[in-house]
Symmetry: C2
């Protein structure tokens, strides 16, 4: 299982992915579910969920490049001119990878679904964040709901729905993301530490920052413990329902 | 969509169901997704989720009764000797209902899944709570995880995982259930008020109590508002991550 969340707020782009499923060898980046493509005018981060052979094959094909039938040129994430075209390229490759293995997997009754988050910036474009479905289509993150999730998303969604807005400060948003992961990891043991974080401020020419929350991370341990204590306090402070008679 | 939760704690049995899907006509009880079977030595409550034609047909067949091939007698929830046998009977009827319509639904690509919670007491038995899967099998609620859920269950699971234990007082458990519903309704609009609640204390010969949380219920409005405020306070009280540098 996997949980990944991307947040696109006024202050910048934050992407987080757990690492519990071992993604095996990966020749694209140093992250297990977070894959980085960097060039002189671009920074692109791809987080993956779902069937590992599908996501790995997709990433390998993206690295090798896809021939554009109109221009005869080889397209990669290093050559696409915009983030939207990057999302289209990833979607196209994801779809073709799935179609290749569809017949075999369906016969076996095995799930071969896969979804991806694609975030980053090309040239002077604003920061962008997309969720790419396995049919190849994608949705773009907007200001109204400034986050997108893939994988085991429901346990960690309520805190984001309640607290995250486009105006949330950058480090507050990172904190909310970690609370979202904490809730997810408590309810689904298949999502676990370490958590990989990619952070890109919404400032021209800003450099990405990377952080890995390890199992022993003192900040995350504090956050997890404090959040549990505060939730219990919040729960205790709410009066009990008056309609429950003492004994019936 | 539906969300139902059953809690079996030392203090008693609590079952809650939302009502947003209109269950249409229902000749078993006055509740939409909560169906009550009462007899002189028993109280049985069934909460349903999934394909409405399947759950309705199952309940109608349960009311009419099923002939036991061994004894030739007609079995209903009014005649079964134990809660376990009640769970078996419901599972058998649910399974046979599904098999009847399976071919047609599969051809149409429509979901015909259905699950049920069955709780209550027969005679001097302890209170019991079962989750019945559509294959006809069931699991029984135990002390370690004293609740079972069906339908849209993930949004409301973290609060139960954190706070509910077998020792939780009865009215505190009702409160936790309502917080669980509040989180679910915020993240999935297809789950909504009113919420039907069935409460049965773990006291010999205790009578069941019923409550419907209407849209205008002042207690639930307070709970929902206070919980949101307390969550924001809890979130604000946790320090921000030290690894996010002010600007990078």
């Amino acid at each position: 299982m996997t949980y990944c969340v991307g947040m696109l707020i006024d202050a910048g782009l934050i992407m987080m992915a757990d690492t519990r499923t071992n993604a095996g060898i990966d020749n694209v980046s140093t992250f297990k579910k977070m894959h980085i493509f960097e060039g002189k005018d671009r920074f692109i981060s791809v987080a993956t969920a779902g069937n590992l052979s599908v996501t790995q094959a997709t990433l390998s094909k993206l690295e090798e490049g896809i021939k554009n039938p109109e221009t005869e040129e080889i397209e990669t994430l290093e050559t696409v001119p915009t983030m939207f075209r990057a999302a289209e390229l990833v979607g196209k490759v994801l779809r073709s990878t799935q179609l290749q293995i569809k017949a075999g997997y369906e016969a076996e009754g095995v799930s071969f679904g896969a979804t991806m988050l694609l975030g980053g910036r090309i040239g002077d474009e604003p920061l962008k964040l997309f969720l790419i479905y396995d049919v190849g289509n994608s949705i773009s993150c907007g200001r109204e709901t400034p986050y997108l999730q893939i994988g085991e998303l429901k346990y960690g969604k309520p805190i984001l729905d309640r607290a995250l807005t486009s105006e949330t400060p950058f480090n507050e948003a990172v904190k909310l993301g970690l609370i979202s992961f904490d809730s997810t990891m408590r309810s689904n043991l298949a999502v676990g530490l370490p958590i990989d974080i990619v952070m890109l401020r919404n400032i021209p020419n800003s450099k990405p920052a990377f952080y890995r929350v390890e199992r022993t991370d003192p900040y995350f341990q504090t956050l997890s413990r404090e959040w549990g204590i505060k939730l219990r306090e919040a729960q205790a402070s709410i009066p009990r329902p008056p309609f429950v008679s003492p004994l019936e």
